[in-house]
């Protein structure tokens, strides 16, 4: 089987990997790089559990091929906290109990991060539409939305 050599930046570190053409970014992260924070949900771009940030944009890692990533910049959940210091979104998810089983959480955190970078002061409705591509089957969305809105307040305050 054809193996493709790819060099990409993941969470700030240059990473070299080989992959077959069929392998998605999600497969590469979990199977080859053993980065298990990115979750495998539906595999068809419907649930958002595998959301990562690719070249500054949130994408479903299950709908990206590893082979197209030469030179790409990828941010996963493993890069969100700085050492022991949680990202404000991560802290607010804890404060608001915005997770139960946690499978959807990495994807939602990264989608929320991308959302707040583009729109630091979203309305509740904008948060709900922004997170429409992330399914949660146990927490319910209210706590998640409240956590994101609260994190937005804190992130705006720390910037000014």
């Amino acid at each position: 089987m054809a193996r493709n050599l790819v060099t990409a930046t993941i969470n700030g570190d240059e990473v070299e990997f080989t992959c077959s053409t069929e392998q998605t970014l999600l497969d590469v992260l979990r199977e080859d790089l053993h980065m298990m924070g990115t979750k495998n949900g539906c595999g068809s771009g419907d649930c958002g559990a595998c959301t990562v940030i690719l070249n500054g944009r949130p994408v479903n890692a299950c709908l990206v091929l590893g082979v197209e990533l030469d030179g790409a910049n990828i941010e996963t959940i493993e890069g969100m906290a700085k050492g022991n210091e949680l990202h404000p979104l991560q802290q607010k998810f804890l404060d608001h109990a915005a997770l139960q089983c946690g499978i959807c959480t990495p994807g939602i955190l990264l989608m929320a991060k991308a959302l707040l970078e583009k729109n630091p002061d979203p309305t509740e409705s904008e948060v709900r539409f922004g997170l429409a591509g992330n399914l949660c089957r146990c927490t319910g969305y209210d706590k998640i939305v409240r956590a994101v809105l609260d994190a937005a307040v804190e992130m705006r305050a720390s910037k000014s």
């Binding site: 068809s44 771009g45 479903n60 091929l65 082979v67």
Partner: protein
């Protein structure tokens, strides 16, 4: 199992040669939001993926004096961030922005939405209403086809061996012109159109209609131009008589299927309702241009 290969050519010529050599076993790859799902479901089993994203023509939005060119591999998110394009063809941009989630928007391309040829593709009615053309590269050079003629059936296009869509062109919007797109889905986000309606209109200085095109999606095997809409609207203002006739013409154009998203009867009725709503939005935009 076929050993799947991947190529990412930087020129149109190389892409055409790769596609022509591989024939039916090659697939053009851009955003992958349809293709990778179809491969996973084993609906298609290509031997070669030709990634067109490194070909510069497929990635640019060019506002020329007489037309707008949108590269086939431009994503929904990129279109939505282009304020100039949004001001010129808001209906086309709002149609593309309705495709999928924010994550899908970061990858899904306008050319992919066209070439996937779903009868419910959101971009298509807006593109037909805007008189968009598909620019196609192939072994015999470049040809252009109106979007309405490019689509030949569900999942079917008029692309021949070795051909692929490099860009989509829109005319420069006329003075006092406006366009809009609306779709009906049972939820508020993340669904496939039960009916989609795109309309573009040009107004005379006296506020009557000079030209209009209405196209409907998800109500027939391919998106359809409502031929009668132009005659109903031209020369008139958007009064109740015109709206009633427009609604009836839209419903008459439908030959939909029954499925879990909507019945034949429902789709036919909603087509008329959306035609009127989209006409009002496009009209208001035209008045402000």
């Amino acid at each position: 199992m076929v050993d799947l290969r991947y190529e990412s050519p930087e020129t149109i010529e190389v892409a055409v040669a790769l596609l022509a050599a591989e024939g039916q076993m090659a697939r053009v790859f851009a955003g992958g939001t349809d293709l990778l799902v179809q491969m996973k479901e084993e609906l298609v089993e290509p031997a070669l993926l030709v990634d067109i994203k490194k070909i510069s023509e497929t990635r640019l939005i060019a506002i020329d004096p007489d037309q707008v060119r949108i590269g086939a591999a431009v994503t929904g998110a990129e279109l939505g961030e282009n304020e100039q394009l949004k001001a010129m063809w808001p209906g086309v941009v709002e149609a593309v922005e309705l495709i999928g989630s924010a994550q899908v928007q970061g990858r899904a391309t306008i050319g992919g939405n066209l070439c996937n040829a779903s009868p419910a593709a959101d971009s298509v009615p807006a593109l037909i209403a805007a008189e968009a053309r598909a620019v196609i590269a192939g072994p015999d050079g470049i040809r252009e086809v109106p979007v309405g003629e490019f689509l030949t059936g569900p999942g079917q296009t008029s692309l021949g061996l070795g051909e692929f869509v490099t860009s989509i062109t829109l005319p420069k919007p006329p003075e006092h012109g406006g366009d809009a797109y609306l779709r009906f889905i049972p939820r508020t986000e993340m669904d496939i159109a039960v009916v989609g309606a795109g309309l573009s209109v040009v107004l005379n200085p006296d506020g009557t209609c000079a030209a209009a095109r209405l196209a409907l999606g998800a109500v027939a095997p391919t998106a359809r131009l409502v031929e009668a809409a132009s005659e109903i609207m031209v020369g008139n203002k958007l009064d109740d008589t015109v709206l009633e006739a427009l609604s009836a013409a839209a419903s008459e154009t439908c030959s939909p299927i029954d499925d879990k998203r909507g019945t034949i009867e429902f789709r036919t009725k909603v087509a008329g309702v959306l035609a009127c709503r989209v006409a009002k939005i496009a009209w208001r935009r035209a008045e402000n241009n």
